[in-house]
Every structure is written in structure tokens, then in C-alpha cells.
């Protein structure tokens, strides 16, 4: 795959409001690799929360407001598997039969998930400057099943010389976020995130990483409530930047 000179970053609404540092780290990391990153200021959200909650009309209106933001033909990098999946796979469905359909299909084709971009488009070869550590990786369900990039985060972590990647129990299982699911069914979602948090703790990892803001907020929010554990997760972009000395 050819190496682009420029990319758009679609930051996603969760990153924007709750973990903007992860977004900045993704930008910085790409820039250190010589990529110009364009962040359209009029961006807000891909529409996923409404779409998965059974409100496609509202989702479409919000998505429609994003269509003019990517006029160049550069890749659109998304630091979150589930939003990437929304743009890439659900936007074309959402706009089927709408006047914007063709444009949406063209935009969707340019969407690349962050870890996929780093590994497969840039063939990132990091120099790990961090101390030895053990890290667990949680891959979001959308990254795994919609974007088909469940091995990219592993591969990136495995390229760090001083990092040992540990596997946690039921690694492929959902963390229980699911957008409004965790609010509509807190008992079930709670049981799921409890099991996920325990599996991560039991893995012996010192920290964990994920490339999905929703999962990160879910698991970290649970771990913080438990208080007993020092374990916390980081966005993959922040972790990779930190390991390669790019974090000021």
C-alpha cells in the first residue's frame, strides 16, 4: 500500500470530549512519521449512537453534516474501531437510496482504522525507548468483526522490543459497552465489564491498551470504581507514542 503524504483525522465524539489526549497523541505520532494530519474543525460524530439505538433518521442527519469535511482524496484515519466500522460499513447502508449515496460510498472506501493504518499503510517500525513492561490488549468487537483488524494492535505492540504482550482470559469477548446497551441493561453490561476487568487484572499485565475509545471508557470507568486495582488502560496511540519517546 502506498504511503500517503496527508491524512484526515476523524477524532470521534468520545475522544473529542472525554479523551482528547488520545486524539492528540494519534496526530503527533502520525506527524513524527512525516504525515500531514488534517483535522476538520466542523467534525462531530459519525452518528453511531443514534444508529445503533434504532434512530437512523437522526443518525443520517448527523452523518450528512460530516460529508463535506473530507474534500481531498486522502485516507480518513479513525482512532476507534467502532466509529471506523460505522463510517466504513454502516454509512453506505444508512445512505442507500439517498442522493448522497455515491459520495458516501467513496468516503467509506477511504476510511482506515488507526492501528491498521500504522501497520499496513505505514509499516511502522518503532524504536522502543521505554522500560520493560507487560501489556494486555483489548480489541473492540467492531475492530475484530467489522474492520477485520483484530491482529493489528497485537502486531504493533509486538514490534516494541521491551514490551511483553500478555493474553487475557476470554480475550475476544466483548467488554459490555455497546453504547446505550450499558445504560439500558446495566446489570448485564455490568457483569460483562466486571469479567473483562477481572480477566485483565488476572493476566498479570501492568497496563492494557485498546484502540477503541468506547471500550477504554467502559473498562477504565469500571476499574476506577473498584479502586482496589492500580490497573488502567491507555489508548493504543498514547501508548505507542509514549514508548517511542514522542510524548512531551
Amino acid at each position: 500500500m502506498s504511503r500517503p503524504s496527508d491524512v484526515y483525522l476523524f477524532g470521534t465524539c468520545l475522544v473529542d470530549l472525554f479523551m482528547p489526549d488520545a486524539g492528540m497523541d494519534a496526530i503527533t505520532l502520525l506527524e513524527t512519521l512525516g504525515i500531514r494530519v488534517h483535522f476538520p474543525q466542523a467534525q462531530s460524530c459519525c452518528g453511531q449512537p443514534a444508529y445503533t439505538s434504532g434512530h437512523p433518521r437522526e443518525a443520517r442527519d448527523v452523518a450528512r453534516s460530516q460529508l463535506d469535511l473530507f474534500p481531498g482524496d486522502w485516507p480518513i484515519v479513525v482512532p476507534s474501531g467502532s466509529c471506523g466500522g460505522m463510517l466504513k460499513h454502516h454509512w453506505p447502508t444508512l445512505f442507500a437510496g439517498e442522493p448522497e449515496q455515491e459520495r458516501v460510498v467513496a468516503i467509506a472506501a477511504r476510511v482506515v482504522e488507526f492501528s491498521d493504518f500504522l501497520l499496513n499503510h505505514l509499516d511502522w517500525q518503532p524504536v522502543d525507548t521505554g522500560p520493560a513492561t507487560r501489556v494486555a490488549v483489548h480489541t473492540s468487537c467492531s475492530a475484530r468483526r467489522e474492520m477485520n483488524v483484530h491482529t493489528t494492535s497485537w502486531a504493533l505492540v509486538d514490534r516494541l522490543a521491551n514490551v511483553t504482550r500478555v493474553v487475557h482470559d476470554h480475550e475476544s469477548e466483548c467488554c459490555g459497552f455497546g453504547g446505550t446497551f450499558s445504560i439500558k441493561h446495566p446489570d448485564i453490561a455490568g457483569a460483562m465489564v466486571t469479567d473483562k476487568a477481572r480477566a485483565l487484572e488476572d493476566s498479570g499485565a501492568i497496563e492494557f491498551v485498546t484502540a477503541d475509545a468506547g471500550c477504554l471508557m467502559n473498562i477504565n470507568g469500571k476499574l476506577a470504581l473498584d479502586k482496589a486495582t492500580p490497573l488502567r488502560g491507555k489508548h493504543l496511540a498514547s501508548f505507542l507514542l509514549e514508548r517511542t519517546g514522542g510524548k512531551s
Partner: protein
């Protein structure tokens, strides 16, 4: 033996049921290990992922082709079965199906029915209906036999008693079967059950079975099973009644082979089952065994509602393998009873609204994180998450809104508050200016974040906005760069 109870756990109380199930540590433990076991079995049955992919694509194509020709295939099936000496009955509702079956048994003054495993008979609550008319219906599938003895319903479509531990079954047999010593030896338990059933086959007036595939071309009813009880039920009593949903028809015998392979491997990782029965009519002159009469009851019960809608029609591709349940992180935590429906888990969430109406299954379409594990393993590639999102939409759609194929219970989950919230959300997120203002205020007012946030803070610390949005951080950095 107790009679089958009426619905024990109505699905309207899904959330309460789920909470109770989550608190049951014994259930949680046995479910989790059972599902882990079944997942491992399935994956070892498909060592070659390319073959699996190709087979799933074939399975999907077969089911879609058969469904696209459903009306004519059903006609052909009836014609061929009739020619084979099988009487075909059509039932639109469970009540009609029950009446047909009761009529057939009553016509012979029957008092005992032995049953092979049939989820459709669970769907119509046949046992309950027959017992109200003084006819005993005895389950002969070991799992069904156990749940019937316990006065429960199946929790899984393939493994009805999967929620029970060995010790629970041992206790049950010891208490309910005369002269049965307590034993946790699985082989011994199965022997006890089998011996008790042996007699019943000989005494029964009628045998009932389900159908896995009904072949239109030849008028053949295929029955997949492992215990041999299905064969006993369909050959020993003089009267055999089969019941199935209208979607189970396939065009030709050839279609059965890949579907059968997908079914057994996806369900329990078996390359093939111990028994595969092909029933093509009653005993013919000169034959020594087999029933003297065979009937097939074809049940609609809401299936044609799913059929009418191109997207939701995919629900009917299902071959009832149960893999979606085995892989579901929700099902594997709450088990089947919590759903309060005949079909639990992902397939239950997408089929039950058609059978029972959205008004009775309100919480089921949302009871999923949309993780996609179900769709990933479904042998006939039903896009279950997509179906769930569509059902969410229909259950939120105002009841009065006109659509091409309205679903029963449209608008059952519609809430003005929620609709307004999404409209407000749209106003903010579809307008860059408003969104910018929203981001600015949310970050500046972060100290005012409420300490309890509906549902969320039950399991998490509150969601608190960062001091500045990513938009702002990017703008600030650009400004700094311009200066330098």
C-alpha cells in the same frame, strides 16, 4: 410427572429475570463452562477457515433460495407428502396447531404421547394443552426429559438442560423417580432415564417429533438427533405427528447435505449425528414396522410477518443450531430462562418479536451490545446485529406511523423522552456551531458533572468531560505553530 407449566418467566420481566440470573453463582458457573466447551467443540469442528467460509456462503445461499420460493415450495411439499401418504395440516396460530394435534390424538382415544425434541411444540405449549385434556405428553430427549421432570422449560434450543449441574440432575432423579438411588455418574443417570422411557414407547398411542428439514422435491421429513429417541417416537407408536415452522422447507435432497453438516458442526462440533432419520410416509403394505399414520403440522405463528419484509426475512434462514447462543456474552451470563421466550439468546431476540409481538418482547432487541459474535458464527450468515438494530427502530417507531410492513407491537418501546433526547442530540451534533458551543460548555462545566448518571454509574465512575476538547487542543496547537 408434572405437567408443563405455563410461561414461568414472562419476557416482559426480562430485566428482573436477568438480574436474578446474574446473581445465581451456580448458574453462572455452569453456563460459562458449558458455553466455553461448546465454543471449543465448534471451533475444532471447523479447522479449515476457508472451508468454513465457503460452506457458510453455500448454506446462506441455499436458505435464501428456498425462502425466496417459499410459497411454491410449501405447495410442492404438501403435494409430495400427500402422495407419500402423509397428511398435511396448516396452522396459523399455536391454538390452531394444538387443536389439530389434540384432534388427532383424541380421534384414537389416545392417552399417552411420547415426544422427540421439538422446539415448535414448546412454542405452542403443546404439553400443557394436551394435559389439560387428559393426555400425557412425555419428553424422551434426555435434556427435555430432565427439564420436564423439573417442571421447567428448556434454556437452550439444542441442550435443554444445559443450565443444570450433575448434582441437580442426580437429586431430581432421586426425588422424582421411584426406587432411584442418588448418583452423579452420568452414564448411570442416562441409563435410569432410558429405562424409564423404554416402557413408554411401547405404551404410547402417538409419537411426536419436530422436523429439521422438510424436502419439497421428495416429500421427506429429515430429523437430526443423537439419542435414538427420535427414531423410537417416529416408528414405534401407530400414529406419528410431526410439527414444524413453515420456514423449514428446502427445495431438494441435495440442499440437506451442507445444511446438515453446518448444523451438527456449529451446534456441538459433531461431524455428523448418531441418527439421521428420513421419514417419507407411513408403513407400507408388507413392511414390518413404522407408524400406520403420519401427519405434518406446518405452523406460521408470526413467521409470515418476518417473511413479508425483505430484510427481516433473513431471520427465517435459521437452522436452529444454537451457535449464536453459545457464543453470546449475554446469553452465557443469564441463560435461557431469563428471556422468557421459547427461543432465547440472539436468535430468540430476533425471532420472538414476530412470534409474540414487540409489545411482549420490548426489552429483547436492546439486550445486546451488538458485539457481533452471533453473526460471526451463524452457519447461514444471518446478520443478527443488523436485525436487532432494525427491531430497535421498529419498536421505537411511533405506533401510528404508516409503513409498508408494520410489525405487531410497532412502537412498543417508543418513549417521548428518548425521542426528544435523540432530536436534541441531532440538533447539537449536526451543526458545527452548536457542537462547538456544546463542547466548550461541557468542558468548562465539567465540575458540575452529575455524580450519578442513569445506568452508567451503577458500574462506572461518572463520565467526566476533559478540560478541553480535541477540537480546542488542535486549534491551540495550530495557533502556537503560526506564532513560532
Amino acid at each position: 410427572m408434572n405437567s408443563q407449566p405455563v410461561t414461568l418467566y414472562p419476557s416482559r420481566q426480562f430485566k428482573d429475570n436477568a438480574r436474578a440470573a446474574l446473581a445465581d453463582t451456580e448458574l453462572r458457573g455452569s453456563l460459562r463452562s458449558a458455553m466455553d466447551f461448546l465454543m471449543a467443540k465448534r471451533s475444532s469442528a471447523f479447522p479449515d477457515t476457508d472451508e468454513l467460509d465457503a460452506l457458510r456462503t453455500l448454506g446462506e445461499a441455499i436458505r435464501q433460495r428456498c425462502l425466496s420460493r417459499l410459497p411454491e415450495l410449501l405447495e410442492q411439499l404438501e403435494e409430495r407428502l400427500t402422495a407419500n401418504g402423509v397428511t398435511v395440516h396448516w396452522a396459523e396460530t399455536p391454538a390452531q396447531a394444538n387443536a389439530i394435534i389434540h384432534g388427532l390424538v383424541a380421534a384414537r382415544n389416545g392417552t399417552l404421547m411420547v415426544k422427540g425434541k421439538s422446539m415448535v411444540s414448546e412454542e405452542i405449549e403443546l404439553n400443557h394443552h394436551l394435559e389439560a385434556h387428559g393426555i400425557q405428553a412425555l419428553e424422551s430427549d434426555m435434556g427435555e426429559y430432565i427439564v420436564q421432570m423439573a417442571g421447567e422449560k428448556p434454556t437452550h434450543i439444542i441442550m435443554p438442560a444445559i443450565h443444570k449441574t450433575k448434582a441437580q440432575i442426580a437429586r431430581l432423579f432421586h426425588e422424582k423417580l421411584p426406587d432411584t438411588p442418588y448418583t452423579e455418574d452420568v452414564d448411570a443417570l442416562i441409563r435410569i432415564g432410558r429405562n424409564a422411557l423404554r416402557e413408554a414407547y411401547l405404551q404410547a398411542d402417538v409419537g411426536l417429533s419436530g422436523v429439521n428439514f422438510a424436502v419439497a422435491e421428495t416429500g421427506t421429513l429429515c430429523l437430526v438427533e443423537n439419542e435414538g429417541n427420535g427414531r423410537m417416537c417416529t416408528t414405534v407408536p401407530d400414529l406419528h405427528i410431526a410439527i414444524t415452522g413453515i420456514e423449514k422447507v428446502v427445495e431438494k435432497l441435495e440442499d440437506v447435505v451442507p445444511l446438515y453438516s453446518l448444523l451438527t458442526r456449529s451446534a456441538i462440533g459433531q461431524p455428523i449425528t448418531t441418527y439421521f432419520n428420513m421419514i417419507s410416509g407411513p408403513r407400507r403394505p408388507g413392511e414390518k414396522d413404522g407408524p400406520r399414520e403420519v401427519h405434518l403440522v406446518l405452523l406460521d405463528n408470526g413467521r409470515s410477518q418476518a417473511y413479508a419484509d425483505q430484510q427481516l426475512r433473513k431471520t427465517l434462514q435459521c437452522i436452529r443450531c444454537g451457535a449464536c447462543m453459545n457464543h453470546c456474552p449475554v446469553y452465557s451470563r443469564i441463560g435461557g430462562h431469563a428471556y422468557g421466550t421459547t427461543y432465547p439468546g440472539p436468535i430468540g431476540e430476533i425471532i420472538s418479536p414476530h412470534l409474540l409481538g414487540l409489545e411482549n418482547t420490548r426489552d429483547l432487541p436492546t439486550a445486546s451490545s451488538l458485539c457481533g459474535a452471533c453473526g460471526e458464527v451463524c452457519p447461514v450468515r444471518i446478520p443478527i446485529p443488523e436485525m436487532l438494530m432494525r427491531l430497535r427502530e421498529e419498536s421505537q417507531r411511533p405506533a401510528g406511523e404508516a409503513v409498508d410492513h408494520p410489525l405487531r407491537g410497532q412502537g412498543a418501546a417508543a418513549s417521548t423522552t428518548e425521542a426528544l433526547a435523540w432530536r436534541a442530540w441531532r440538533r447539537v451534533y449536526a451543526s458545527p456551531g452548536t457542537y462547538r458551543l456544546f463542547g466548550w460548555s461541557a468542558t468548562r462545566l465539567r465540575a458540575l458533572t452529575p455524580p450519578t448518571q442513569a445506568g452508567w454509574t451503577q458500574n462506572h465512575v461518572p463520565m467526566t468531560p476533559a478540560p478541553k476538547t480535541l477540537h480546542e487542543l488542535v486549534r491551540e496547537r495550530e495557533a502556537r505553530r503560526k506564532e513560532s
